[in-house]
């Protein structure tokens, strides 16, 4: 038995990496999930390659009211999706706009999740008055109609990128907390949690190492859905004129700026709408595919 250190079994961490890869390839079996993953990857690629893909500078007025497919009169190049009322190329603005949305939405979701998970763990695991207080706070925040809450927050702290993240964190972490709390209430009665408790592990270790990893399935699905919803929120805020301050491109804001001209120039509003819808659709389909797979095994 003394030589057992040398008899190390060979099946190592490489195998677990392969398994992770395999669970991703499982997505292939859900075509809904595949379409979702494709759409999301498409927009991520566009966002990353924005400087190389965009034919024009997104913020400079070149030629107003150009219809889709028209050649630029000076400097060459084609306005594939036309230009807006002050002559900015819509395709370039959509491409750069994908960066805005794919930076702010994940950041806001991440920040909401961090807060929501911490609150949910505390409420679900500790129970008692901690749970009572946190749940009441969540109930109160959730009793606001969401958009009214955003309007009030933005009205008091002003519209800016960071404030949008704050507003989204504030408004969506209670919902995340409720989900996490429900999962924790279920998981904390498992025997392996009791086993950890009976060997005197600290509360934080039990919560973060024993409980949280086992809640990841439903949370990943929810995160995808919520990401889609955050994108809608950012778009709606932009559309209502409460979003990011101009001139940087923001899909919701583009619709807002040009909607008065939609009758004569539908391309100005239509294309940003299609862009935002496909991205949200991507996340929603991805969530559905992931859920389908998680139910299967």
């Amino acid at each position: 038995m003394t030589t057992s250190t040398t008899e190390m079994p060979t099946a190592g961490y490489g195998a677990s990496f392969l398994r992770g890869l395999k669970s991703f390839t499982l997505l292939r079996e859900s075509w809904v999930g595949m379409v979702g993953a494709f759409l999301v990857l498409f927009w991520i690629t566009v966002a990353i390659l924005a400087p190389y893909l965009a034919p024009f500078d997104p913020n400079s007025s070149i030629q107003p009211f150009a219809k889709p497919g028209i050649e630029a009169t000076k400097g060459g190049g084609t306005f594939w999706l036309g230009t807006d009322h002050i002559g900015r190329d819509i395709l370039s603005r959509i491409i750069w706009g994908s960066r805005t949305v794919l930076i702010y939405a994940p950041l806001a979701t991440l920040s909401a999740y961090t807060l929501g998970i911490l609150m949910g763990l505390a409420a679900g695991y500790r129970g008692g008055w901690v749970d009572d207080v946190l749940s009441r706070i969540a109930d109160i925040i959730l009793s606001f109609p969401v958009l009214v809450l955003y309007i009030i927050i933005i009205a008091t702290i002003g519209a800016s990128g960071i404030n949008i993240i704050i507003a989204i964190t504030f408004a969506s972490s209670p919902g995340i907390m409720r989900i996490v709390r429900g999962l924790v209430l279920d998981l904390r009665n498992r025997d392996y949690v009791a086993a950890a408790q009976t060997r005197g592990e600290s509360d934080w270790r039990v919560m973060l190492i024993e409980i949280l990893p086992n809640a990841r399935g439903p949370l990943i699905v929810d995160a995808c859905l919520r990401l889609g919803y955050v994108i809608i929120t950012i778009g709606v805020l932009g559309f209502l004129g409460l979003g990011l301050p101009p001139p940087d491109p923001d899909w919701g804001g583009m619709v807002n700026e040009t909607r008065q001209m939609a009758m004569a120039f539908p391309h100005m509003t239509l294309f940003p709408c299609i862009a935002i819808s496909t991205l949200i659709l991507g996340f929603n389909l991805l969530a559905d595919g992931l859920r389908e797979i998680s139910l299967r095994d």
């Binding site: 250190t5 079994p9 677990s16 079996e29 009791a194 009976t198 990841r216």
Partner: protein
Amino acid sequence: MNDNLEPVLVCKDLCISYYTRAGEIPAVVDFSLTVKPGETIGIVGESGCGKSTVAMAVMQYMGANGGIKSGSITFKGRDLTQLSEDELRRIRGAEISMIYQEPFASLNPSLKIKTQLMEVPLAHEDISKDEARQRSVQMLADVKLPDPERIMESYPHQLSGGQQQRVVIAMGLLSKPSLLLLDEPTTALDVTVEAGIVKLVADISKKFGTSQIYISHNLGLILETCDRVFVMYSGEVVEEGTINSLFTWPRHPYTHGLFSCIPLPTADKNAAPLKPIRGQLPLPFDRPQGCYYHPRCDHFKPDVCDVDHFKMEYVENSAADDHRVRCLRYKEIDHRQDTSDVEVKESLKLGKRVLNVDGMKKYYEVRDNSLKAIISGKRIRYVKANEELNFTARESETVAIVGESGCGKSTFAKVLMGLETGTEGEVRHKGKDISEIAVRDRSDKQISSLQMVFQNPFDTLNPSHSIGAQISRVIKKFGVETDKNKIFDRVMRLLDTVKLPRDFYFRKPRQLSGGQKQRVGIARAFAGNPSMVIADEPVSALDVSVAAAVTELLMDIQREHKTTLLFISHDLSVVRYLSDRIVVMYLGHILERGTTEEIFSPPYHPYTEALLSAVPIADPEVTKREIVLEGNLPSAMKPPKGCPFCTRCHRKIGDICDNEPPQNQAVSERHIIKCHIPLATLSEVAPVINVPDESERIHTQQ
């Protein structure tokens, strides 16, 4: 019996498959069965052997991915596989009924019992609502439910588990079916409740003449209810015969193996230990060539057993002429001769006292938020989970705590482990009172010397972490080893101890079977060299053959480490087999305690007596006195004023039982009975279980 009558059900050469993404999975292969009128057939087997699939095939309710591949199911001359959905509907519930494993889940939670009962005759017969109602009330009375009118107006959740199962049985019998299928109808119930249901089931065919198919994993229950038995293994029947011929002389090695895994009254942990079947059940798509059982069989002969798949054969020279077996070598094997290779294990010397429980109480505070409680000001009530517990345990000793659900045995374990703190009294572990020290305030040494093996194998390991990481953590946490290599080394040795391959270190729990997980659970409990281990029903969720192996393993490790084992269980047969002393609990009280010998012979506490009678024993030559308890376990919120057992006691002597809590009476120094009945009277009671002498036996199983 009724040989000249037309059979009720004939299954012929039935093959049933499930179709999944992984391909076709043959669930049941080559299954033939005949049920005569009034006959009760038992189907016994471990999980995954296909026994429930047979029942579902008879009901023609296979789900979207299941189908009958070949063969026929003929019910009263009609092939069920050929009927239309509408024709099937008229047979289901009217001529064939089914009783399910979980009564609560099988009743609609939002409809009253009367609605759910009355719709059965209304759907099948042309009768009025009044008539349907009358018949339902009558049937509820027939299944011995008290106050049928009140039950009719109840919702399912307002009834206890036993009552729910009686309602489901009543529902099944309402249209006077000729065949009743029972799929593990008592698995979800407590033993004393189970005994009542089993008696009811046994009476059905007598009273209504209904044929029955009784599916169970428990050979003892089959013995008590059935006329003939089919033993299934991995999708096929390996042996069938009358109860008498099969139970007295099982011919198939698997059947024989099953009997050797059950702690029958003849088994003894030292002189005649259990003999687990080695290996595991093969997965349906992974069945071996030839006999499906050959990789686990002690009588395997190469080039005979592993060549072709073969059919059932009639057993020659059997007591009954319809004993069949699926084994090529059954004539060459004589199970009576292989008692020789049973290893005799040394009995242990008990050491010094390790645990001393003295007057331990645990009360929970419950807030009552009902309007009535607020007005009367009695908002805080106490649930007395443990009341005055007194007992001791020594080094190397196995002490069993026995009781049904809600008796307080798990609460006691929690106090011991420090997950809860006791309300009063002392729990001295190695001389130090730990009852009021929560686990976070205990030293690593205290914690590591007191560890636990949990009940549910699917819950005991964290699915997110590898086996190695989970055992290493314990070693690191308790400071047994600190060096990384030494920790790894120790994990390897622990895996060896629990007889698991070393490369399990890297596996995740979901790649393990239930028995393997439970072994890891044992390795984890013993990783910190505990002086005492609490095992909370460690094998109750496992199959018989696997359970025996885990039980033996646990006892071997205990022997080696001289550990004190506190074994919590509801199963008196396991407890009788492995424990030195027994504590019987009911509603938080210890009603009786003493050595195993003392508990199993008179004088008994009336509750112990009932428990003993309720345990099914898979030996036709063992006789039992029948005691069926009436009523339900009282709520711990409102325990009876006097003796906790007075509401169900069959030996109640009068008002004193209702009004005064009984005192402990000492039979011997360590045998205590808490009862009002004088010891002299209790001593006159006849033994519940009678095991014939070795010489009087027709055949021995061990």
